[in-house]
């Protein structure tokens, strides 16, 4: 009905990719950005961009990598897009936790996530992609568009920077 004459292959692919990756990408972007509403916009931007490039891509694996790269890049540049930021005032990290979540150590997790937010953005990206995204060094390098060696050094400097916050949580 609502759809689909040309681009229906791209539409189908977007539907599948959405089901498989959307929630995780929004969570990843939220960790990078600290704002869920903006994170959703960034991820939706990535899907829209992927749709328009579909013909040049075609391959599911490449599509996922493309989404990831777009989300990292979009999260980076979102602070510069003042319009988006203005529409969504900053929220506390992982807003509106339930009482149970707080009780199970949410507050301690928040301390770490907050400390993460104080890191330079490349260090934060490297840590989030590795420890939340579960990506390999090569995958992180490609998402961040930097070398494998640079991933290593951003990650280790990031871990060092977090150590203080982590020490309070044990």
């Amino acid at each position: 009905m609502v759809q689909d004459r040309t681009g229906s292959e791209a539409d189908d692919a977007i539907t599948d990719l959405y089901a498989a990756h959307y929630v995780r990408l929004v969570r990843l972007a939220t960790l990078l950005l600290g704002n869920e509403a903006v994170a959703e916009e960034v991820v939706q931007d990535a899907f829209v961009a992927l749709h328009s490039r579909w013909r040049r891509l075609r391959e599911p694996a490449a599509a996922v990598a493309y989404l990831r790269t777009s989300v990292v890049h979009g999260s980076r540049s979102v602070q510069r897009r003042r319009g988006v930021a203005a529409r969504h005032p900053d929220e506390p990290p992982g807003h509106a936790p339930s009482a149970e979540q707080v009780a199970v150590g949410g507050a301690a997790a928040d301390a770490v996530v907050e400390a993460l937010r104080g890191l330079p953005h490349r260090q934060r990206e490297a840590l989030v992609l590795r420890y939340y995204g579960g990506l390999s060094e090569a995958e992180i390098a490609s998402a961040m568009k930097i070398s494998n060696g640079a991933v290593k050094s951003h990650a280790s400097r990031g871990l060092a920077g977090l150590r203080e916050a982590m020490a309070d949580w044990s």
Partner: protein, 341 residues
């Protein structure tokens, strides 16, 4: 790459903290619909279907718009503009003490909190740029129906994740009254100029006039906006709904509603041949679809359908048919997520 086996305790802690924090993030239910609308977008000026509709229904539109113009008392209102600073419009401090014109509801004097269901207009990306969309909000308020509806529009977010407001937060309604052939809405602070100020004004005008009509008052009056009782705007009437409203609008179920089967889906549509298409989705998959007919073609008129459903979470999407064969703007649609108990 590190694996969990050779991770340090710090790395494990970071892993756990990130996952714990991330799991609290629950994206809205409608991301795919939002993406779809944007992947279907064509340039705004390409709207042959809308132009065709507008032409075909010029008469119907004239009736609606004509009501506004006829009741607008023309230039007789002009003196009010210059007088307002000395008396008639309410100032923020005396909303309860002012002398109410006969048409003002009696609730104005000592306002007890009451339960009201008010129409509230927002905007959505319709596929043809931003257009007005409507929700009904049940609220507790001591304001008059018009003031309550406009205040709700200014201060409450829409329930539907596809909708948003063109009004930045920070402005409230101090009063709304019928005076001199207009609905005068007084705001606590000057609105910030944002994107599409004309449509933002229409968002307020539609809300105020719809609230007036649903409270049994004259909904065809134009609206004057004042700030702290000062600077009344020119009276603003409703722009032709075919130009500013999303042509397909769901009324029920409300976004996020939980309700028993059978589920009655109702709305209004101004569509070609009165043909309204619908799709029922579960987890993003279409499980049923069909079409129904609005009561009239090409002007806003009601439609409804009834669905026998098993318990579960659903999304209903209604849309107009695409008569341009994909050449024009994408068909407009509206969607609601609901749960059958």
């Amino acid at each position: 790459m590190s694996t969990p086996e050779n991770w340090t305790p710090q790395e494990r802690q970071l892993h756990d903290a990130l996952h714990r924090s991330a799991e609290r993030v629950q994206p809205g239910p409608d991301g795919l619909a939002r993406i779809r609308r944007r992947t279907a977008v064509v340039p705004m000026w390409r709207r042959p279907v809308v132009l065709g509709l507008a032409g075909a229904t010029a008469l119907a539109a004239a009736v609606i718009v004509g009501g506004v113009i006829a009741l607008n008392d023309g230039d007789d209102d002009a003196p009010v503009a210059s007088q307002t600073s000395t008396s008639p419009a309410p100032s923020p401090s005396d909303t309860t003490a002012q002398t109410a014109p006969p048409t003002t509801p009696p609730a104005e004097t000592t306002p007890p909190a009451q339960s009201l269901t008010v129409p509230v207009y927002y905007v959505a990306d319709s596929g043809d740029g931003l257009r007005l969309v409507r929700e009904f909000h049940a609220i507790e308020t001591s304001l008059t129906p018009i003031a309550a509806a406009v205040n709700e529009m200014l201060t409450a977010p829409p329930a539907d994740p596809d909708y948003r407001s063109l009004w930045a937060p920070g402005v409230e309604v101090t009063a709304a009254d019928l005076a001199d052939g207009a609905i005068v809405v007084d705001l606590s602070a000057p609105p910030t100029a944002g994107e599409d100020p004309d449509l933002a004004a229409q968002q307020l005008v539609y809300t105020a006039t719809a609230a007036a009509a649903s409270a049994g008052q004259d909904g065809s009056l134009p609206v004057r906006i004042t700030v702290g009782g000062q600077d009344p705007s020119e009276p603003i009437g409703r722009t032709d709904p075919l130009e500013v409203r999303q042509l397909v609008q769901l009324n029920d179920p409300a976004e996020g509603a939980t309700l028993p089967s059978p589920v009655t889906v109702t709305g209004e549509a101004a569509v070609y041949e009165a043909n309204v298409l619908w799709e029922l989705r579960r987890d993003g998959e279409v499980v049923d679809s069909g079409n129904t007919t609005a009561e009239e073609c090409c002007t806003f008129s009601p439609f409804s359908l009834e669905l026998d459903l098993e318990p579960g979470a659903y999304q209903i999407v209604v849309s107009e048919s695409d008569e341009s064969g994909g050449e024009g703007r994408p068909p407009m649609s509206d969607s609601r997520t609901f749960t059958v108990e």
